[in-house]
């Protein structure tokens, strides 16, 4: 079974400052990794995914994440945040050998961008 830990439940950050959201996972099998964003009163939107290949993955809205197999981490970064990045961010994994695409989610990190 997999598990995902997002180390920070809340991250306040000033506008135009960088932000890093930490995600660690544990799994006995190889996994695919995802970051989703949830704006208030909405569903989840895919930011980026790591399936294989380059460990640095670029996503939408200027976000990127780096897969580190030895540290079982998949941290999300953005060099300069905007007010509109205020949202909750979820890290998720799925088993690469599984028949479907069931995701196991971390507990989420709330990002509050302050002017």
């Amino acid at each position: 079974a997999q598990s995902v830990t997002q180390l920070d439940s809340q991250v306040p950050v000033f506008e135009e400052a960088p932000v890093e959201l930490r995600c660690n996972y544990s799994s006995s099998v190889s996994v695919y990794l995802f970051w989703y964003v949830q704006y208030p009163n909405q569903g989840l939107q895919l930011l980026l995914k790591y399936l294989s290949g380059s460990t640095l993955v670029k996503g939408i809205n200027g976000f990127e994440a780096e897969f580190n197999k030895s540290q079982t981490s998949f941290h999300l970064r953005k060099p300069s945040v905007h007010i509109s990045d205020t949202a909750e961010y979820f890290c998720a994994v799925s088993e690469s050998k599984a028949a479907g695409n069931k995701l196991t989610f971390g507990g989420g990190t709330r990002v509050l961008v302050k002017p």
Partner: protein, 113 residues
């Protein structure tokens, strides 16, 4: 391309009643997943349907059930509602096969009073 649509947006029920939530996947997607997002409990996997069959089930009691129709739409039924069933219920769809991201709808907010 139309996204995943869920109805109703909000649903208010009293304890002991039954709730039915509906989901239409993205055209071409045959897999539907249901998640519960309860306050303080994060996103919990409920059910996975593919090609009309239940493929996997999360750690929820049998009063949570559902089905998938021939057009791949799905409904989630919750019987004998309890107060702790109050949550946002999210539906997601994907094409069949691994390494496919899930596409989520905006959810149904179920409130049990």
């Amino acid at each position: 391309e139309a996204g995943v649509t869920q109805s109703p947006t909000h649903l208010i029920k009293t304890r002991g009643q039954q709730a039915t939530l509906r989901c239409s996947p993205i055209s071409g997607h045959t897999s539907v997943y249901w998640y519960q997002q309860a306050l303080g409990l994060g996103l919990q996997f409920l059910l996975w349907y593919d090609e009309g069959e239940e493929r996997n089930r999360g750690n929820f009691p049998p009063r949570f059930s559902g089905r998938q129709f021939p057009n791949y739409s799905s409904e989630l039924n919750v019987n004998a509602l309890e107060l702790e069933d109050s949550a946002l219920y999210l539906c997601a769809s994907s094409v069949t096969g691994g390494a496919r991201p899930l596409h989520f709808g905006n959810g149904t907010r179920l409130t049990v009073t």
